[in-house]
């Protein structure tokens, strides 16, 4: 296959949200929103996916930047990961989001990659990315979940024909912060909690989020509820740069009188959606964030995991990350 080649498409460059929403609505399933392009151009170059019409969002200034609101902050969907990583406001209030953004890919990719693109990106299962006719691509097979299937990176929970996982580093942090995803289409604006924004194959095997043709993610709102609490983010990957998480963990906890009074925790790359660890939250609330509580939390976190042939290692990995999140945050 020749390199740096893509099939021809029409390019639209709207300068307002209104025009972008109008275009996406009119184009329907033929339209493709383009933010930083790091996921998109990868698809187009491999020719595993194609669209006839691309709507480049990069000229829409109102989608960029971080603003303070009455009860928190609002991050425009087109804000780059570098801006988020280096924003004093986010570092100060929502440190895990800055950390998670800073652990994505490489400096170049963070300089153009947007938070909107990061949460909307497609899964990295290579059988699917390669263009095979798997369930997610509308076929009737999962190539990763066969005796020979290479599924070291795949899921521990939520397998439903497809065993792919969420690749996003920022998604678990947003779930922990109880962020609200602001979506616009021809009918108006709606807000969806991050936890409900991501969907698994049991809901729709061909999508990773609730977004449908014509929907534009315009912003992410985070209230001050978890601002300044004890945060923990850690990502384990094979290499320090470029690599998608094998498992990542995000947590926010409030400790009062020596015991955990409130906590939210989520793990990425273990399920098709960021996995909210509610069992852990229940187990540790009311206990001191010590070694003993951490050990119990780790055990609770991995209960019910169903490994595939090559990803058993993710179980002790997740267990340890949960322990550290309780003990070291």
């Amino acid at each position: 296959m020749s390199k740096d080649m893509m099939r021809a498409f029409e390019l639209y460059q709207p300068e307002s949200v209104e025009n972008a929403v109008g275009l996406l609505g009119r184009l329907g399933s033929d339209g493709w929103a383009l933010a930083g392009g790091n996921d998109t151009l990868d698809w187009f170059k491999d020719r595993a996916k194609y669209t006839s019409s691309v709507v480049d969002l990069s000229g829409i200034e109102s989608l960029k930047g971080i603003r303070e609101t009455a009860d928190g902050i609002e991050i425009g969907a087109l804000t780059t990961l570098t801006e988020i990583e280096s924003s004093p406001l986010i570092q100060e209030r929502f440190g895990i989001l800055a950390q998670a953004s800073g652990r994505v890919a490489s400096p170049q990719i963070r300089n153009t990659g947007t938070i909107g693109g990061n949460v909307c990106q497609d899964t990295r299962c290579w059988y699917y990315r390669y263009g095979l006719d798997c369930y997610r691509a509308g076929g009737t097979t999962c190539y990763a979940d066969t005796p020979e299937g290479q599924n070291r990176e795949h899921c521990l929970w939520g397998a439903d024909r497809c065993v792919a996982v969420t690749p996003s580093d920022t998604a678990p942090a947003l779930v922990v912060l109880d962020a609200r995803m602001v979506i616009q289409n021809g009918e108006g604006e709606r807000e969806v909690p991050a936890e409900e924004f991501f969907i698994g194959p049991e809901i729709d095997i061909e999508r990773m989020t609730v977004l449908e043709a014509g929907d534009l993610l315009t912003a992410i709102r985070i209230s001050n509820e978890w601002s300044g609490s004890r945060f923990y983010f850690e990502k384990v990957a094979d290499r320090n740069t470029w690599d998608f998480p094998l498992v990542n963990i995000a947590s926010a906890m409030v400790v009062e009188g020596g015991v955990i009074s409130r906590i939210r925790m989520a793990a990425g790359a273990v399920q098709c959606v960021p996995r909210r660890l509610t069992v852990v939250e229940e187990v540790v609330t009311g206990s001191a964030p010590d070694e003993e509580t951490a050990a119990l939390a780790g055990q609770a976190a991995v209960r019910g995991a169903i490994p595939l042939n090559y990803n058993h290692f993710k179980i002790p990995l997740l267990e340890n990350l949960v322990k550290r999140a309780i003990r070291d945050s």
Partner: protein
């Protein structure tokens, strides 16, 4: 579509199909072949250029997206009389072997030194994390970048 850029300080333009990447426009339409086509998917960094003051993989950016913006490529570092201090130090330290990563490596290094002329080893490693080199093992590259930073600081202090 007509794409107009400022490349290394000069206005340049070309009529390109919408699906043209910035890398392709630079190499095939503007004959600036310094930035290289390596992996084509954002892993290797040899296509790195600076757009509006930040390093980007030009293989993953549409030329149309850079319309009206300022681009710096490796061709913008030296002039006909003089190498950039980074290039001099890369040569002095023997920081390159095959050289294919060089254009991207130097651009990422320049982008770092423009913002932080006195980086620590850790900061250099971080800034070059998106640029792969399969020959050198990076040690001499890092030494060259730190050394170049010193030279640039000294030049500034003297001017």
């Amino acid at each position: 579509m007509l794409v107009e850029l400022k490349v290394n300080g000069e206005p340049r333009s070309a009529d390109v199909p919408p699906e043209t990447t910035l890398l392709k426009m630079l190499r095939e339409y503007l004959n600036l072949t310094g930035a290289k086509l390596g992996c084509d998917v954002g892993d290797c960094g040899t296509c790195t250029v600076i757009v509006d003051g930040v390093s980007v993989n030009s293989c993953l950016m549409l030329a149309a997206r850079a319309n009206g913006h300022e681009v710096t490529t490796i061709e913008g570092l030296a002039n006909s009389n003089e190498l950039h201090p980074l290039q001099e130090k890369f040569e002095e330290h023997g920081a390159l072997q095959c050289g294919f990563c060089g254009p991207g490596m130097l651009i990422s290094a320049k982008n770092l030194l423009d913002k932080n002329p006195d980086p620590t080893v850790f900061e250099v490693r971080d800034a070059l994390a998106g640029n792969l080199c399969r020959c050198t093992g990076y040690t001499k590259i890092i030494e060259a970048v730190i050394d170049a930073g010193r030279v640039m600081n000294a030049e500034q202090a003297n001017s």
